[in-house]
Structure formats: structure tokens, C-alpha cells
């Protein structure tokens, strides 16, 4: 059996061709995207000579592969490009949106993991009972519903009709920052997101638990005379968490990249909204920067999930 460090190294090595592919696709998309970088300088008073000098200064006359390597070199230094529309580096524009997204997505993730796993355990103690059937039905329905429509419905009911919560944004305009105000704004979007995610975590954990409950060591635990709750919680859960961990790994990029549609519905000033605004403004450097970061964290999430998975389950042979 190889050491864990070696396993991680191997996995990272396997990721390299994928990273290369992703960088090429992103670069090509940036290159063919509407809105040529020079279009912003197209001042009728500029002579063709001045224009070509600009183009020279931006490195646009060099062969494509040189431009690509320069761009990748920039990525390694944390340089995601330049938003001409905003006149600022892309990484700066994205960085200032990350706290809002982290707050929204982090809150929802913590709520949904804890509630989802808890409900799954309660369900698995008495599988196919009334409660289990009801939760299974509800979560199946929850996963079939478009989340942003739930968001719209929530705004209509709780903000429009009942006027309990603000319709969107992160703070009340013209009011000093207060924690309570932030919570009031956070409540609806994080509830909608949590509901959707709870459905996922519930279904994954429940099916993992039900599968484990057929194993021999569970029969042994039952034969020892342990209560069903103790069997499920102490023996089953630890071994059933693999799919849950996978789901957590999948959720990691959303912590940074946000849930674009839900953020737009609630006008939450996070990375998701930034992406959609950048799309409308045809600010492709910002849009592709967001995509690159999200994709990178998707890969990292998958890697982390595999590592935790290997640590959690002694049957997974990391030498494999």
C-alpha cells in the first residue's frame, strides 16, 4: 500500500492534462468571444498606425501560441486578465465579490449538510416508514424543481404578500450596517438554497446508509443487542458517509463560484451575479475568470473528496 502523500501526488499528476485542456478551451473562448480587446480603443480619431501600435503594446500581433503561454504564465502569478470595461484587474473584481458569496453559500452548506444528514439518519432508523416515505417523496420533488422558481415564489409570498423579508440585496439602502439587517436579507436566499441542497444530502446519505445496513458488521452490532439508533449512528453512519463526502466535494466550487441564478433572483451581490452582469456587458475577461476559478475548484473539490473518502473508508485501497 502506497502512502497517502504518494496517492495525492498521483492524483494531482493525473489532473495536469485536464488542467491543460481547460486552459486551452478557456483561452480559445476568450479569443473568439465577441468584443475584440481593441474595440474599446476604437476611437475614430486614431490613425491606423496608432491602432497597430496599441495592438503591438497589448501583444496582439504575436503568434497565438505565444499569446497563450503569456496568458498561462500570468495565471500562475494570479493574474487573470484585465477587465477593460471596469479598468481593473479581473482578480480584483472577483475578489471583492467573494465574501458575499462565501457568506451565502457557506451558511446554506452548513445548514444543508447538518439537516440533510440528520434527516437521513432518522429516516434510515425506520426505513419505508411513513416519515421515511414522506421525506423521500419531498426530497425527490425538491430535486426536480428549478431552484430559481422556488426563489421567485419565496419572494412573491414572503416579500410581496407577507412583507416579512426584503425582496433582495444584502443590506437596506441608506441604512447603517447592522447584523440583524444582514440576517433578514440572508434568510430567503439561504433558505431556498438550503432546501435544495438538503434534498441532495438527504438522498445520498440515506441510500449510503441503507446499503451499509445490509453488511455483516451491522448484523453483528445488532446481535450484540445494541439499539437500532446506536447501530445506525455509531456503526452505519461512519461507513455510509462516502457519497455525502462526494457531494460535499461537488459543493466546494459553489462556495467561491456561487449559485448564479439564485444570486440573480435575490440580487445578491456575489460572484454569481457578477458573472451574469459580465455576460450582459460582454465583459468576457471577467466572465472567463469566474469560470476558470470555478472549474479549478471543481477539480480541487473532487481531489479533496477522494482523499477524505480514502481516509474514511478502510476498504478503499489507496494504492489501487
Amino acid at each position: 500500500m502506497k502512502s497517502l502523500g504518494r496517492y495525492i501526488l498521483d492524483r494531482v499528476f493525473q489532473m495536469l492534462p485536464i488542467l491543460f485542456f481547460i486552459s486551452v478551451v478557456t483561452f480559445v473562448l476568450l479569443y473568439i468571444a465577441p468584443g475584440h480587446p481593441l474595440a474599446y480603443y476604437l476611437d475614430p480619431s486614431l490613425s491606423p498606425e496608432e491602432l497597430s501600435a496599441r495592438s503591438e503594446a497589448l501583444g496582439l500581433n504575436q503568434p497565438l501560441y505565444i499569446q497563450y503561454f503569456k496568458w498561462v504564465g500570468g495565471l500562475f502569478r494570479g493574474n487573470l486578465g484585465w477587465s477593460i470595461l471596469r479598468g481593473r484587474p479581473v482578480e480584483e473584481v472577483i475578489m471583492e465579490r467573494i465574501p458575499a458569496t462565501l457568506l451565502l453559500m457557506g451558511t446554506s452548506l452548513i445548514i444543508s449538510v447538518s439537516v440533510g444528514v440528520l434527516l437521513a439518519v432518522i429516516s434510515a432508523i425506520r426505513p419505508y416508514s411513513l416519515l421515511d416515505s414522506f421525506l423521500t417523496f419531498l426530497t425527490f420533488a425538491g430535486l426536480s424543481v428549478p431552484g430559481f422558481f422556488l426563489g421567485i415564489l419565496a419572494i412573491y409570498i414572503f416579500s410581496g404578500r407577507l412583507e416579512w423579508f426584503p425582496v433582495g440585496g444584502m443590506s437596506t439602502a441608506g441604512q447603517d450596517f447592522s447584523f440583524f439587517d444582514l440576517l433578514r436579507h440572508l434568510f430567503l436566499p439561504s433558505s431556498v438554497l438550503s432546501f435544495i441542497n438538503i434534498c441532495g444530502f438527504f438522498r445520498y446519505t440515506r441510500s449510503g446508509l441503507l446499503e451499509v445496513m445490509d453488511e455483516d458488521f451491522i448484523t453483528t452490532a445488532r446481535a450484540k443487542g445494541l439499539s437500532e439508533t446506536a447501530v445506525v449512528v455509531r456503526h452505519g453512519l461512519r461507513n455510509a458517509l462516502a457519497p455525502t463526502v462526494t457531494l460535499l466535494g461537488i459543493a466546494l466550487p459553489s462556495l467561491i463560484g456561487g449559485a448564479s441564478v439564485i444570486e440573480v433572483v435575490f440580487s445578491w451581490p456575489g460572484v454569481g451575479t457578477l458573472m451574469v452582469t459580465a455576460l450582459y456587458q460582454r465583459d468576457f475577461p471577467v466572465l472567463m475568470g469566474c469560470m476558470l476559478i470555478t472549474t479549478f475548484f471543481t477539480l480541487v473539490g473532487g481531489l479533496l473528496a477522494d482523499i477524505v473518502y480514502a481516509l474514511l473508508d478502510p476498504r478503499v485501497n489507496i494504492g489501487g
Binding site: 478551451v25 425527490f140 426536480s144 419572494i155 425582496v167 433582495g168
Partner: protein, 278 residues
């Protein structure tokens, strides 16, 4: 194929709902009280009434008629994008699984790379690029191509796994030992054995396609006006006044998307249960 198993009721409800929701848009022309783009300038943003059962929009167009015609577009996008993406995925997945070697490594690496892209985001980026190079392509086809182009890796992975285990299965080995030719094995053994997975994938794909249409049209890069679609009708809810005071504009398509996607998923789940025979 067993017909009676657990969850039969949901399976049936799924079929009935789906039949209903596919019949209504198919008969849109006969059911709609008005043309979907007919303007009634004396009744702008009118709430539901006898003349307009679901009210009218900002241009005085009848919402019920647009709902019927919009359903046609949404279901078409869902069905075709699913059919195409499952088709591509099935071909690539079975080639990778059956032939193995370098082809397999190449296809699977490509699939993995595609899977690491955030699908919705990539669709957002691709729409304006398609628009630039193919400005005459109708938005319905643009959306179908983008969704199919991004959706196939899921099926590809699934089918490859299935083919790998089928290749090693006893019945394939037996016919190989009896001297069956490659083409015969593929036609008589692999294809029928893959069919259930393919059908289930298409079913789930329809729901995903309808949801994707809704999301992208809501964000303004899916189906473009004047073509009505359920997602496009939901875009009206982006306006806060419409959202809070004119629910008749956005609630019917939203609820329809919910019910269709739920029934398609029930159908898929039921099919999955019934065909898991080997």
C-alpha cells in the same frame, strides 16, 4: 420488463402527467384562444378574465395562448437536446468501453475534462459566441446544440461502465466462444442490454433540458423573444413589479415546469426500477 413493482403509482402518475403536458402543447394551435403574438392593446397587463383566462402581458398578448405555444418550445428543447446528448454519449461511451486502449484513454480524458466545467456557466458563455458566428441560427436550435454539446459526458461515462461490465459478462463470453462475430455480438447482445440505460438517460435528460431552458431563458441567453417559451415567460419575473403584483404572467409556466420535470423524473425512476433486471 416487470410492470408491477414498488412505486407503480408514481410511475403511472408520471405517465399521465406527461401525456397531459405533451398533448396540451401539441394541440396548442387548436386550444389557444388567440395567436401567441396577437396584440390586444386595450388590455395591457390585464389580470385573468373570461376573455383572457390567464390575463395578458405588457404587449397585451394572451398569456394562456403563449403558455400553450411556449410549452411546445420548452418540451421540444428538452426532448431533442436529451436525444442528441444521449446519442453522442452512447456512441462515444460504447466505443471507449468496447475497443479500450488509446481510444478509450483519449475519450475518457476528454469526458473528464468536460465534466469539470460548470455546465450552466459554459452555456452562458457559449450563447453570445454562437450568436456572433451564427447570427441567423434560431435561438431554439442554438440552445439545443449547446445543451447537447454539454450534456453528453454524463451518458458517455455511464455507458462506458456498462459496456465494460457487459464485455466481461458470461453470455457475451459464451457467444464469443461459440464463434460469434463482433458485429453480431454488438447487435444481438450489447445493444439490447444497453437499451434500458439509454432510455432511462433520455428520460432524465428531458427533465434536465427543460430545467436548463428555463434557467438560461430566465437569464436572457436561452430562447429569445418573440418565440414564446416557459423559461422566457419566467424572465418576466425579473422585474420586481411584475413579480410582486402580476403573478399570472410567471406562475403558470413555473408551475408547469415543476410538474413536467417531476413527472419526467418519476417516469425515469420507474423505468430504472423496472429494467434493472440483470
Amino acid at each position: 420488463m416487470r410492470l408491477k413493482t414498488k412505486g407503480s403509482k408514481r410511475f403511472l402518475i408520471g405517465i399521465i402527467f406527461l401525456l397531459f403536458f405533451s398533448l396540451v402543447p401539441l394541440l396548442a394551435r387548436y386550444l389557444s384562444p388567440y395567436e401567441p403574438d396577437a396584440l390586444d392593446l386595450f388590455n395591457i397587463e390585464a389580470p385573468p378574465s373570461l376573455a383572457h383566462p390567464l390575463g395578458t402581458d405588457a404587449l397585451g398578448r394572451d398569456v394562456l395562448s403563449r403558455f400553450f405555444y411556449g410549452g411546445r418550445v420548452s418540451l421540444l428543447v428538452g426532448f431533442l437536446s436529451s436525444l442528441f446528448s444521449v446519442g453522442i454519449g452512447t456512441i462515444l461511451g460504447s466505443v471507449a468501453g468496447y475497443y479500450g486502449g488509446k481510444i478509450e484513454i483519449f475519450i475518457m480524458r476528454f469526458t473528464d475534462a468536460m465534466l469539470s466545467f460548470p455546465t450552466t456557466l459554459l452555456a452562458l458563455v457559449l450563447s453570445p459566441i454562437f450568436n456572433r458566428y451564427l447570427p441567423d441560427l434560431p435561438s431554439v436550435w442554438r440552445l439545443i446544440i449547446i445543451l447537447a454539446g454539454l450534456g453528453w459526458p454524463f451518458t458517455c461515462r455511464l455507458i462506458r461502465g456498462e459496456v465494460l461490465s457487459l464485455k466481461e459478462s458470461t453470455f457475451v463470453e459464451a457467444s464469443r466462444l461459440m464463434g460469434a462475430r463482433e458485429a453480431w455480438i454488438i447487435r444481438k447482445h450489447l445493444f439490447p442490454a444497453l437499451l434500458p440505460t439509454v432510455i432511462v438517460s433520455v428520460t432524465f435528460g428531458v427533465a434536465n433540458g427543460i430545467l436548463a431552458e428555463a434557467v438560461l431563458s430566465y437569464l436572457g441567453v436561452g430562447i429569445r423573444p418573440p418565440t414564446p417559451s416557459w423559461g422566457g415567460m419566467l424572465e418576466e419575473a425579473k422585474d420586481l413589479v411584475t413579480l410582486t403584483s402580476m403573478p399570472w404572467l410567471w406562475m403558470p409556466p413555473g408551475i408547469a415546469i415543476m410538474l413536467v420535470s417531476l413527472s419526467v423524473n418519476w417516469l425515469g425512476e420507474g423505468l430504472q426500477r423496472r429494467t434493472r433486471s440483470y
